[in-house]
Each structure stands twice: as structure tokens, then as C-alpha cells.
């Protein structure tokens, strides 16, 4: 490429074949004689196109009676915008970078606090021979204080949560997770089993089967802590913690819960619809190509091919229809939603109905854009038409072959492929000439002569 660019020539070059004609007159004559004939059709096409354009412009002028640009003189135009008629989308501004920074800090803060609490929780709820069992024993208290030092009873006179002052009826208690002094009313209790589940599902990010059952059990809970111990009939081991630690654990639990919300089945079904839509559009383009080919009389495809693709199309079509019908059922049933939660049910139902509506619109568009299968008659007609135009072409070609003079109808069958070949080669040769590939054109020309020779022989036989 670089070489051809470097190889610039000057002078009266023919724009078509790059021959240097010496002067303007010669160039004009050359162009008229050599190229005008070849490209007359193209040029003619161009001219008529231009004419049409001009006409439409004129029409525009004639249609508008009033001076159509009366006000344009009063407005300036931005030269950058001048050439494009398209309107760009308006300005925008993003705050996401700042948002992310703030969120990162906040999440980090939460994360460290949660991790700290979970670590303590793990130690406190760990049951083995080294740790004293849960209960109001001295060893246990010592153990608990070794994990998080308790605040001195003597320095605290009010509850760190509700600020009520302690007295005879309001006893002091300690949060086992951060050691603060709280009253009984402000105490929350967490079961050992719940605590273990939270720790387990938090530490392992990958879902093992063992783990998923833990999570399943966890998901069934509403809250991880309770304000009274009486509720726990089983008399299980539990820890007393303060409100703020309880909130932190509750949050952690909600995170786990949110991460593990199962995908609602409608999403799977929806993916099926999308899959089928993709298939349909793929098959459709093939189908259209086949039908076009058949209806223009070509024999590359048979009606069988079209039928086959058509069958595939209807499979996808049916699939979209049947799957989307399921959504109507979903809309009525609203599975997985609490019977009494009317607003959620309504929302779910709307979603499902809208998906069904979407599918219906999709199907309508599909059936409109896909033509039906052509009938035998139509195919026959198309083929006949093609045959006729082929014959006419052949008759023309024959006239150009030197040495052969005969009517198309008299032509023997063996000769036909020769003539087709001959026609194609002449086409190639013209293309080569137009593109300026002289060597190739010469080669093709000799080919043609050979062909003509061969045909003459065959014809005489």
C-alpha cells in the first residue's frame, strides 16, 4: 500500500485506467471512447438520481407558498452543529465517584466493627474443654472478661443505652460483646446456635451443601436476637448483649439474608423467553434469505430447506408463547408471597402480566416480519421467470461469441454450461478492466478465446 501511495503520478491521467494521455483533449477523447460506453449505465443512473433530487428540491420550494426561511437571517448557527441534523443527548453529570468514596468508608467502618464483634462472638460461643460452660460462674465471667474487659460497675451510674439511672429496681448488667453497662430492659439475647450460624455463613463465602442448610435455617428467622429469654423455651445457651451490638449483628444477618435471596423462578422462565427470542431472530434471517433466494428463482435452496427452518421458527415461536403463558398463571397465584401481603402480590402480578404482554407484542412483531412459505405455484412461476430471463441473456451472449451463430432453442444441452461460463468470464473481465487490473483482463480474454474455440468444436459435433 505504502508503495502505491508513494508512486504518485502527475499529468493528464485517466481517472479510470490511470493512463497518461498527454493533454486534455486526448484525455477527453480517450475517456469518451473507452470508459463512457462501459459506465454509461452507471452515469445515467447517477444523472437520473440527481435529476430526481433536483426535482424533489424544486417540489419543496413549490409546495411552500410562504417564504420558508423568513426567520433564518435572525439566527446564528453553531458551525460544529451545522452538518449534523441529529440532536445529541443533553448534558449529564455523574456523582458516582464521590458516592463510591463515601460508601467505601462507611462500609469499611461497618466491616471492621462487625468483624470485631463476630470474632468475640465466636470465642464466647465456642464450646470445648478449655472454655468454661456458659453460666453464672466465676470462671465463665473471668473468661468473658478476658475477651472484652467489662466496664467498672462503680464508674457507671446510668444505662449506656437508655440513660436511666441504676438503682434498686434497675440492676446493672454487662454486654458480653463490648463490655458496656446496660439495664435489663435494654438487653438483647442471642442464642448460641444462632450465633454459630451467623459466624459460619459469614466466614465461608462459597456455598457448600453443609453451608446452604445453615443458611436455610438462618433465613427462616425474623430476627437474630430477642429481648427476653423467656421466649426460648428450649432453655438454650444464650448471651446478653446491648442494643447497638444487636443491631450490628442484625445488620450482618440481613446482609447474609440479602445475598442469599433465591432467584425467583420467573427469572428462569424469562431467560427462556429471551433465549427463544434470540433463536427466533437467528433463524429468521436464514429463513428470509432462503425465501428470497427461492422466490428469485434460484435453485440453491429447495422448498424443503425453507420448510425445515420454518419448523424451527415455529418451535421458538411456540416456546415464547407457552413460557409466557406461564406468567399469567404466576400473576394469578403469586407463589412465595405471603397471602396477606396484598401490595407485594399486586406488584408481582403486574410484573408477570407485563412480561406476558411483552411476549405477545414480540410474537406479533415476529409474525408480521416473517412471510409465509411460498406455494408450489409461486416457486414454479419464479423459476419460469428466471429461466426466461436466463434464456434471454444466453441469446444475447451467443451473439457476442465469435464463430457461433444459432438460435437459443436450437442449442444443444451440452453447450449451455459453456455459454454460462462464457458469460461469467466476460463479467469478470469487465470488472477487471474497470478496476484497472490489466494483466488479469488479458488473461481472462485469452480464456474466453479458448472457451469459444471449445464451443465451436462442440457445436460442430
Amino acid at each position: 500500500m505504502l508503495q502505491t501511495i508513494g508512486d504518485t503520478r502527475e499529468g493528464f491521467l485517466c481517472p479510470q485506467c490511470h493512463q497518461d494521455m498527454g493533454n486534455l483533449e486526448m484525455l477527453q477523447i480517450h475517456f469518451q471512447n473507452v470508459h463512457m460506453k462501459q459506465s454509461s449505465t452507471i452515469i445515467k443512473g447517477l444523472f437520473s438520481f440527481a435529476k430526481q433530487k433536483l426535482k424533489s428540491v424544486q417540489d419543496n420550494f413549490q409546495n411552500s407558498n410562504e417564504p420558508s426561511k423568513m426567520y433564518s437571517q435572525y439566527f446564528s448557527f453553531d458551525p460544529h452543529d451545522y452538518y449534523s441534523k441529529k440532536q445529541y443527548m443533553g448534558f449529564t453529570r455523574s456523582h458516582y465517584a464521590y458516592f463510591q468514596i463515601v460508601r467505601k468508608d462507611k462500609l469499611h467502618e461497618i466491616y471492621t466493627k462487625t468483624q470485631q464483634l463476630l470474632l468475640r462472638l465466636e470465642l464466647l460461643t465456642d464450646i470445648n474443654e478449655h472454655t468454661p460452660p456458659n453460666g453464672n460462674t466465676k470462671e465463665r465471667r473471668k473468661y468473658e472478661q478476658s475477651i472484652i474487659p467489662w466496664m467498672e460497675d462503680s464508674v457507671v451510674s446510668i444505662c449506656s443505652s437508655c440513660s436511666a439511672s441504676f438503682g434498686f429496681s434497675r440492676r446493672k448488667h454487662h454486654c458480653r460483646l463490648d463490655g458496656l453497662v446496660i439495664c435489663n430492659q435494654c438487653s438483647q439475647f442471642i442464642l448460641f446456635s444462632t450465633a454459630r450460624r451467623i459466624i459460619d455463613s459469614n466466614t465461608s463465602s462459597t456455598l457448600t451443601t453443609n453451608n446452604s442448610s445453615t443458611i436455610q435455617q438462618l433465613m427462616n428467622l425474623k430476627t437474630v436476637t430477642s429481648s427476653t429469654i423467656i421466649n426460648n423455651a428450649s432453655n438454650e445457651d444464650h448471651l446478653r448483649i446491648c442494643m447497638s451490638c444487636a443491631r450490628c449483628l442484625q445488620n450482618c444477618y440481613r446482609q447474609i439474608f440479602f445475598k442469599n435471596i433465591p432467584k425467583d423462578e420467573i427469572f428462569h422462565y424469562y431467560e427462556n423467553i429471551i433465549q427463544a427470542r434470540k433463536e427466533y431472530t437467528q433463524f429468521q434471517s436464514t429463513y428470509v434469505a432462503i425465501i428470497d433466494s427461492i422466490l428469485s428463482g434460484n435453485t440453491k435452496y429447495q422448498i424443503k430447506d425453507a420448510q425445515q427452518v420454518y419448523r424451527q421458527l415455529s418451535v421458538s415461536y411456540e416456546k415464547i408463547d407457552s413460557v409466557s403463558k406461564k406468567f399469567v398463571a404466576f400473576a394469578d397465584k403469586c407463589p412465595n408471597i405471603d397471602e396477606n401481603d396484598i401490595s407485594s402480590k399486586a406488584r408481582y402480578a403486574t410484573l408477570c402480566r407485563n412480561i406476558r404482554m411483552y411476549a405477545i407484542q414480540l410474537l406479533q412483531n415476529f409474525s408480521l416480519s416473517t412471510g409465509r412459505l411460498p406455494t408450489e405455484d409461486e416457486i414454479k412461476q419464479a423459476r419460469d421467470a428466471k429461466q426466461r430471463s436466463d434464456n434471454e441473456l444466453m441469446a444475447k451472449v451467443i451473439l457476442t461469441i465469435p464463430g457461433i451463430n444459432c438460435n437459443v432453442l436450437e442449442l444443444s444441452e451440452e453447450l449451455k454450461p459453456f455459454i454460462q461460463q462464457y458469460y461469467q468470464v466476460t463479467q469478470y473481465m469487465q470488472q477487471a478492466k474497470l478496476a484497472g487490473r490489466d494483466d488479469e483482463a488479458k488473461f481472462l480474454e485469452s480464456n474466453l478465446e479458448e472457451l469459444a474455440q471449445a464451443m465451436r468444436v462442440a457445436h460442430q459435433q
Binding site: 410562504e66 417564504p67 420558508s68 426561511k69 423568513m70 426567520y71 433564518s72 435572525y74 439566527f75 446564528s76 448557527f77 453553531d78 452543529d81 451545522y82 449534523s84 441534523k85 441529529k86 440532536q87 445529541y88 443527548m89 443533553g90 448534558f91 449529564t92 453529570r93 455523574s94 456523582h95 464521590y98 458516592f99 463510591q100 468514596i101 463515601v102 460508601r103 462507611k106 462500609l107 461497618i110 445488620n251 446482609q255 440479602f258 435471596i261 432467584k263 425467583d264 427469572f267 429471551i274 408471597i337 405471603d338 401481603d341 401490595s343 407485594s344 406488584r347 408481582y348 403486574t350 410484573l351 407485563n354 412480561i355 404482554m357 411483552y358 407484542q361 406479533q364 409474525s367 408480521l368
Partner: protein
């Protein structure tokens, strides 16, 4: 030239939101205002095709989480919305949030959102400036029903909302700065201009452009009080007429009061984006629509006939191929036929042709056709004209009196005439408003509200406030112009009136709009630049003009702007509200100084509730 298209601007924002969210099941979360903004430019069926399956309001809380849904939150940056969003993010209903605010957001609000996003659901936080209702490509509204507080001043809320609306129009059309001109006689328009200018300057991100740029956008701020006449008139172009006689609200028209209406036509959507007939006839006058609807019906019947005889499989096939278009067409036909026949029923029922003719005479002098035959020299012409004017004053009074006695004419239309008369002859020596009022009370019981309205209107848009010559009566120049217009003859007696805004824009374009009446808000900063360019005698050509009318705009004004834009003007018009006469009555009464009548505001506030 590039198109400036308000509808396209909003649509491209919404398209981008949906695209950025990706090919999943999406929900669109909006507030009350953004819901209208979206519904003005997008049909639900179209948005459905982009896999948006849920439409929700941010202010309706508490539902079961559908984690695998993505939410596109398109919200105004109001305090309530931020709070609702914080609540939402703390307990997310969706798995992903793509948040778009229609205007500038405080960094503090971003911070509270970020801190609430403990589940890390937010993917995008952007400002997309689609903060106005796009009614037509050149027409917008902020949907503020009552702009004026007592004594015709701003309330902080409405001023903020208005500035936001104007800023968003500019930014949505990719304009970073603007030359702001305002009506000097109106305090409200000066306050708005100042606030708009300072807001634009404060937003560093967008004001990087060169202030000496010749491709300036001009923002022209006008107070409705300057032209209280236009909202009083009956209208005869399709869109304006429907609004005046039936009422258009967010592209919806309620036909439930129409006799024998079928269920599906009780409320129809009139959106030029989706309705070809409507798009082509928005600005046609009543006569043209009647012809066009006839063509439409014939076309339909032809199709209908060909559809109805399905004999062969071929017929069947063409039927199915044409079916959606057919269905669409039949919907359009029945809708427009219903509306047009309702309009013509009302026109006949209320004798609107005669009313409108009288209105136009009141506003645009007498019937000049009588004068045309008289060919005298110039001065005599003017003299004669004045004489005729006087006679016609008498004549008009008689006409109004006759209409008052005509039982077919509505009270509402009598009120239009009385109001026009009151404005027209406010300081006229032989003002007989009281006689007319008396006549009106004698023959029909006008509601108390109507009588108060006339008083309130004089306060609102009387001579005391106005600076422009609304009736072209003061200067000999204006009279001559009016007279020449009369000599040329009038094409359409029902559409002689040309709204003041068109005149103002014409003056602005020709560089004749006086700086003393309509100063430039930045005049102080740009004194040098201004004076130098004026010395050279050249008018700065604007790239486009954006008009804002405090107190609302009318479809008649929209029509005139559209006619100018058809001739290569680049003008966008909008206001606080799309007024018709009934809504204008409410606004004028609401704004009336409390001294005028406590009863009227009471009446109104009870209605508001």
C-alpha cells in the same frame, strides 16, 4: 441546522437510562412529577418493549424484595425523594439501583445516600436534566398551577422549581450559558432572571464556555400579567381548541361528560408522537380539521370495506398483514371523530362562533371590511378610522348586550367578553362596564366568582401594571399599522389576534426590543462588549431563543411560535402552566390581593382541597 427538540431531549435521556441498565428485567421508579415527565414522551407499550416491566412510585413504601430486578430511579432531587431513597436503600426492594436525578443534587444528599447503601446496590448516580414536561418539540411546561403568591411575589419553593426547570431546559439542549433578558416592570421576572443567572454561574462544571461566544442562547422571561388577554380568548386551532373546550392534562383528554360516550373513549391519550393524524393537525384550524377528518374517515371506510370481505386466503393474508395498522387506524379514527364532533357540538351549543367574533372585534378593533371601500388620503383615513372606532365602541357594547340575552351563550363566555371589555376600556371615558355587569346580572345569575374575577383581572393585568400597548390604540403609528392590516383584509375573523409574545420576539430578533423595558441581566458585566457591538450597529444573532412565561402560557402562543419555527426560527416557549380560560380564572383569583376579596380565595382553597 440542528433540530432543537424538547421531546427528543427527554426521550434520549430516558433511552440512555434504559440502555445503561442492560438487558434484564427492569423497574422504573419515579415520583409524581417524573412520572408525568416520562408519560409525556413515552407510551407504555413502547417502554415495555425495552424490558421495563414495573412502574413504581418512590413514595409508596414497603414491598417484598425482588432481588434480581434492576431499578431505574428517575427522580427530582427533592428532600422527600432523597429521604425515601435512603429508606429504600437501607431495605432494598431491588438488587441494583441506577439513580438519575433530574437536576443538581447537593453533595450532602449524595453522602446520605452513599451511607445508606450498605447493601452496595447502587450502580450509577447521575444528573439527567429532564426536569420539564415536554408537550411539543418547541413547547414545555413546569406544571405549576398557581405561580403567584399574594401580592404577586414568588414563594421560595416555586422560585427554586422554576429555576431548576429553566436550567434543565438549557442543559438538556446542551446550552451551558445564556443571555437572560427579563421584563423590567415585573419584580418576579427580575428575581427569576437574577436567580437563574447566578445558578448557571455557580455550576462550574457547565459554565466553561466562552462568554463572548456569539452563539448565544437568549432566555426571555415574561410575566403573564403583561398580556392577560390571550388566555381570555376562544381558540380555533385543534390543540388549542381541545384544551379550551374540553381540557388536556398531560396529553390526556377526558371525554366522560360527552353524551353517549363508549367506555374505551372516556379518557383518550392525545400524543402527537404516537398519533399521526394529531401530529399533522395540531395547528390546523377548525375548518381544516373537519375536511381532514373526512378524508381520514373515507380512507378508513375504504380499508374497512376491503377488510370486511374476506373471501379467499389471499384476503385473509392481507387482512392479517394490515391488521395492526388497521386497528391503530380505527382507534385513531374513532378518537378524533368523537373529539371533533364533540367540539362542533359545543361550538353550536354555546354559539361560540358569534362569541369568538365579538371577542376578536373587542381585541382587534372594528370590522375593517367596512372601511376598505373608503379611499381617502392618509390623514383623513386615520381621522375616519378614529371616528369609526368610536362608533364601534358603541356597536360592541350592543353586541355584548345581545349575547348576554342569548340563552345559548355560556356564562363563561359572557365572562370572557366582560373581562375583555374591562381591560379594553379600563380608562376610557365612556366605559360602561358597570352597565354591562348590571345587564349580565339581570339576565343571568353569574357566579360570585366571576364578578370577582373581573376585579381581580384588572388588578392582575390592568393598565397600572402593563407597559406594552396590548390593543394598539395609543400611538398614531400603531393605529396606522392596525389600519393597514385592516385594509389588507382579514383572512380569518376568528384568528385576528396576535399574542404580545410574538410581537416581543419579533422586536427582539430585529434588535428593537428596548433595553430599558427588557434589560439584560448581565448588563453590568458586559457593558463594554455590549456597547462596542452596538457601536458597530450589529445585532447579536442568537442561536436560539427560549421564552419562559411566568404565570403560564397558552396554546395560541405555542401555535404562533410554531408558525415562526416553520420559517426557520429557532424558538422554544414554555411557562409555569398550560392555561385555558378556566384554569386562568383560578390562577388570577388565587393571586388576587387578599384585600380584594377574602371570599374568593376561600372559595378557591376549598376547591383546591
Amino acid at each position: 441546522m440542528t433540530n432543537i427538540n424538547l421531546i427528543e431531549a427527554v426521550r434520549s435521556y430516558i433511552n440512555r437510562m434504559i440502555e445503561d441498565c442492560g438487558p434484564t428485567i427492569k423497574g422504573l421508579v419515579m415520583d409524581k412529577e417524573t412520572a408525568s415527565i416520562v408519560s409525556m414522551v413515552y407510551a407504555q407499550s413502547e417502554i415495555l418493549q425495552k424490558e421495563v416491566f414495573l412502574f413504581e412510585r418512590i413514595d409508596i413504601p414497603g414491598q417484598k424484595s425482588l432481588k434480581h430486578l434492576s431499578a431505574i430511579c428517575f427522580l427530582r432531587p427533592t428532600e422527600e425523594n432523597i429521604q425515601s431513597l435512603v429508606r429504600e436503600l437501607r431495605d432494598p426492594k431491588y438488587g441494583n439501583y441506577f439513580i438519575y436525578f433530574t437536576n443538581f443534587v447537593e453533595l450532602n444528599d449524595i453522602k446520605s445516600l452513599a451511607e445508606a447503601d450498605e447493601f452496595e446496590c447502587v450502580r450509577v448516580v447521575q444528573e439527567y436534566y429532564a426536569d420539564y414536561l415536554a408537550i411539543n418539540p418547541h413547547l414545555y411546561s413546569l406544571n405549576i398551577q398557581s405561580t403567584y403568591q399574594h401580592n404577586y411575589e414568588w414563594s421560595d419553593n416555586l422560585l427554586r422549581r422554576t429555576v431548576q426547570g429553566l436550567v434543565s431546559v438549557l442543559l438538556a439542549l446542551r446550552k451551558k450559558s445564556a443571555t437572560i433578558r427579563y421584563q423590567k416592570s415585573s419584580n418576579m421576572s427580575r428575581t427569576l432572571a437574577d436567580k437563574l443567572s447566578s445558578t448557571l454561574k455557580r455550576q462550574v462544571d457547565f459554565t466553561a464556555s466562552n462568554p463572548n461566544d456569539i452563539n448565544q442562547t437568549i432566555v426571555l422571561i415574561i410575566d403573564r400579567r403583561e398580556d392577560a388577554i390571550t388566555p381570555l380568548l376562544n381558540q380555533w386551532t385543534y390543540q388549542a381548541m381541545v384544551h379550551e373546550l374540553i381540557g388536556i392534562k398531560n396529553n390526556r383528554v377526558s371525554l366522560s361528560h360527552v353524551p353517549d360516550i363508549t367506555k374505551e373513549l372516556e379518557e383518550v391519550i392525545m400524543n402527537a408522537e404516537y398519533d399521526e393524524f394529531y401530529a399533522n393537525n395540531l395547528y390546523s384550524n377548525f375548518g381544516e380539521i373537519a375536511t381532514n377528518i373526512k378524508v381520514l374517515m373515507e380512507h378508513f371506510q375504504e380499508k374497512h370495506k376491503s377488510q370486511s370481505k374476506i373471501e379467499s386466503i389471499g384476503d385473509m393474508k392481507t387482512f392479517i398483514e394490515n391488521y395492526p395498522q388497521f386497528k391503530k387506524l380505527s382507534g385513531t379514527v374513532s378518537k378524533h371523530v368523537t373529539i371533533v364532533s364533540e367540539l362542533s357540538r359545543l361550538v353550536g351549543l354555546y354559539n361560540l362562533l358569534e362569541v369568538s367574533e365579538t371577542e376578536q372585534h373587542l381585541v382587534c378593533q372594528g370590522d375593517h371590511n367596512d372601511v376598505v371601500q373608503v379611499r381617502l388620503n392618509h390623514f383623513k383615513k386615520i381621522y375616519l378610522h378614529l371616528l369609526i372606532l368610536f362608533l364601534f365602541n358603541q356597536n360592541k357594547k350592543q353586541k355584548i348586550k345581545r349575547l348576554i340575552k342569548n340563552d345559548k351563550v355560556r356564562d363563561l363566555d359572557i365572562l370572557r367578553l366582560l373581562a375583555l371589555y374591562a381591560l379594553r376600556y379600563e380608562r376610557h371615558a365612556s366605559n360602561e362596564l358597570n352597565t354591562l355587569k348590571y345587564e349580565a346580572q339581570k339576565h343571568r345569575k353569574l357566579p360570585e366568582k366571576y364578578i370577582q374575577f373581573i376585579q381581580a383581572l384588572l388588578e392582575y393585568g390592568g393598565l397600572k401594571f402593563r407597559q406594552a400597548d396590548l390593543f394598539n390604540t395609543q400611538t398614531p403609528m400603531a393605529i396606522t399599522r392596525q389600519f393597514i392590516r385592516g385594509l389588507r383584509g382579514v383572512d380569518n375573523v376568528y384568528a385576528q389576534h396576535v399574542p404580545l409574545i410574538k410581537d416581543l420576539i419579533d422586536q427582539l430578533l430585529r434588535g428593537k426590543l428596548k433595553d430599558t423595558s427588557y434589560p439584560n441581566v448581565n448588563a453590568k458585566d458586559q457593558v463594554n462588549q455590549q456597547s462596542s457591538s452596538q457601536l458597530q450597529g450589529q445585532i447579536i444573532k442568537p442561536s436560539e431563543i427560549i421564552v419562559y412565561v411566568i404565570g403560564g402560557v397558552t396554546y395560541e402562543e405555542s401555535y404562533h411560535i410554531q408558525q415562526m419555527n416553520k420559517q426557520s426560527a429557532r424558538i422554544i416557549i414554555g411557562g409555569s402552566y398550560m392555561h385555558n380560560f378556566p384554569s386562568f380564572i383560578d390562577e388570577v383569583l388565587f393571586a388576587a390581593p387578599s384585600s380584594l376579596s377574602a371570599a374568593s380565595t376561600e372559595l378557591l382553597s376549598s376547591k383546591r382541597r
